[in-house]
């Protein structure tokens, strides 16, 4: 395996909305490659014919019934909020049309 380049790290940082200066980017590139080297030991395991694991548990079909529960009281809702007006969480103005989903 060739390892990650600084360019890869820059792209990941941008996806995660992290700002890295030149020094930290170089540092993280080294550190992440070290971690990757460490887990490369797993490549030695023969996985021929083993289906990919998508979940760590062997449980299936865990559901709840469609019964409404009492929601959190509004005072509780805003307890951890950095900024709100008692009705809404307030955030820097959102530019129209950037909505997702």
């Amino acid at each position: 395996m060739d390892g990650l380049t600084e360019h890869d790290i820059a792209r990941l940082a941008s996806s995660a909305q992290l700002y890295l200066d030149d020094n930290t980017r170089a540092q993280f590139t080294r550190e992440i490659n070290k971690i990757l080297e460490y887990v490369q030991v797993l490549e030695k395991v023969d996985t021929e014919g083993v289906a990919p694991t998508r979940h760590a548990t062997d449980r299936l079909n865990v559901f709840r019934e469609d019964i409404p529960q009492t929601p959190l009281p509004v005072e509780e809702v805003f307890k951890n909020s950095p900024l709100d007006d008692g009705s809404f969480f307030l955030v820097p103005r959102i530019i129209d049309g950037e909505e997702n989903s």
Binding site: S15, Q17, R54, H55, A56, T57, R59, L60, N61, V62, F63, R64, E65, D66, I67, P68, Q69, P71, L72, V74, V77, F78, N80, L83, D85, S87, F88, F89, L90, V91, P92, R93, I94, D96, G97, E98, E99, N100, S101
Partner: protein, 476 residues
């Protein structure tokens, strides 16, 4: 050069579960902001999402009604992106194993059936709602919508015109309402439609660069936005330019689409399996149970109405526009009314009253049984059709039974021969000149006498009897 449009639709529909898709918070529309939230849908660390079984049932019902295949093994995935409406920075959705896939919907486009392929329908959670009206340069976020059950239905690029897109949306909404899985209210945001639009030279099998049109508040808005966008793209190409891949918003006031976001750097969502929601395995028994629970769907019901009640294609179409309408119609027939008369009274008279009062058929103050009783009063000559219309207006106002209104207002039809003979005699005596004219051969004046007798009986004369007596007296 001649161009053709290639359009695919993405519809997000809120499924009407009583609680959210991964937590038990209620889903009442218009509740005070942030009053229907809990640590899970607020994105607090440590919450454990548990899938609402009813969401899977209802999504499967939609899939089956859209002729989809149902995945026997499926799972939820995390779709990662940053946005204030997404507290935990990922949306639980489905990536490469949607619950429903590979289906189609046949839609009626101006009398021609067109088959629109359904690529997939997958389960996900809705995001919070942003409001831009808060002052001070900030936006407000309301998490009541965060975690509401959402089904995304994606078509193949099979749609070729704005009109076809409109027909597809109309048929899809009708189907969803028949299934009773969503109220499909675009204004309240429980149904949201986006169109992916591109144009290409006629005959080409390659796709042009597509734009995505969002922020449309009605089906007719979607139709207009698509029409505009097709014309805009063709003009760009004819002017020697290139269409940019971007998201465009529909400005309904100006009637134009406007660029919102260039999509050159395609969003990377870094999907991976949601570790907190175990895989979903669907067996035959589950699919069979949902299949059996499906109601009769619009197309089948329309065909049955034509056959069973001998309605015209148009009447059957109108009678099955909504499940509520079809149920109402069948209730009138079941209460004993003649099927054709029932369709006529419902379509012509009651729907007009409902439209005037802006009342839905499901909230009609006139019950189907009472409408059947009204038709019965005409059939048994208690009242004539003209009086019946007045009685219906009164029924609509008060909700009273027709017989009670006829009795109370003394509207019963006069079928008493001697009473009518008296009225006829009086009219003949009061109009000697007209009688002379009639007897001299002016046949057309007969209608005048009928009118006079009806006036004298305040519209209550049995029209057939009035005619008979007048002929007898005048022709003698």
């Amino acid at each position: 050069m001649q161009y053709e449009a290639v359009i695919g639709m993405e519809v997000h529909v809120e499924i009407n579960c009583k609680s959210k898709v991964f937590c038990g918070c209620p889903t009442v529309f218009d509740a005070p902001p942030n009053s229907q939230t809990c640590p899970l849908c607020l994105g607090m660390p440590g919450g454990l999402p548990v899938l609402n079984r009813s969401m899977v049932d209802k999504s499967m019902a939609v899939g089956l009604a859209l002729n989809c295949r149902i995945a026997r093994e499926t799972r939820m995935d995390r779709k990662n992106y940053f946005y204030p409406d997404l507290a935990k920075n990922y949306q639980i959705s489905q990536d490469d194993q949607p619950l429903c896939y590979d289906g189609y919907l046949d839609v009626d486009v101006d009398g021609e059936m067109k088959r629109i392929g359904i690529t997939r329908a997958h389960m996900e959670e809705d995001t919070a709602r942003n409001s831009h009206t808060v002052g001070g340069g900030q936006s407000g976020v309301d998490f009541n919508r965060s975690g509401v059950a959402l089904l995304e239905i994606v078509t193949e690029p099979d749609i070729r015109s704005a009109q076809e897109a409109f027909a597809y949306l109309t048929a899809l909404k009708q189907l969803l309402q028949y299934l009773d899985v969503s109220d499909c209210n675009m204004e309240e945001g429980s149904l949201r439609a986006e169109a992916n639009i591109s144009v290409r030279p006629v005959g080409s099998d390659k796709f042009g660069t597509k734009t995505e049109v969002k922020n449309v508040a009605s089906f007719s808005g979607v139709q207009k936005a698509i029409e505009f966008e097709i014309a805009r793209q063709i003009k760009v190409l004819n002017d020697g330019g290139t269409v940019l891949q971007e998201t465009r918003g529909w400005d309904a006031d100006k009637g134009v689409t406007l660029s919102q976001r260039l999509k050159e750097s395609a969003q990377e969502y870094r999907y991976f399996p949601e570790p907190d929601v175990p895989p979903i395995v669907v067996d035959d028994a589950w699919i069979d149970a949902i299949q059996k629970s499906l109601p009769e769907l619009p197309t089948a019901r329309k065909e049955r109405f034509q056959k069973e009640y001998e309605l015209s294609a148009y009447d059957a179409h109108v009678m099955t526009l909504s499940r509520a309408m079809a149920d109402y119609y069948e209730a009138i027939v079941k209460a004993g009314a003649d099927p054709k008369k029932a369709a006529n009274w419902l379509m012509v008279e009651l729907l007009a009253l409902l439209a005037d009062a802006k009342v839905e058929i499901s909230d009609s103050p006139v019950s189907p049984e009472n409408l059947a009783a009204l038709i019965g009063l005409i059939d048994t000559n208690v009242i004539n059709g003209k009086i019946a219309k007045e009685v219906l207006v009164e029924m609509f106002k008060t909700g009273a039974a027709p017989a009670a209104i006829v009795e109370e207002k003394g509207l019963g039809q006069i079928s008493d021969t001697s009473a009518l003979e008296e009225a006829v005699q009086a009219v003949i005596e009061a109009n000697p000149q007209q009688v002379a004219d009639y007897r001299a051969g002016k046949d057309k004046i007969f209608g005048y006498f009928v009118g006079q007798v009806m006036k004298a009986t305040r519209g209550k004369g049995n029209p057939q009897l009035v005619n008979e007596i007048l002929r007898r007296e005048l022709d003698s």
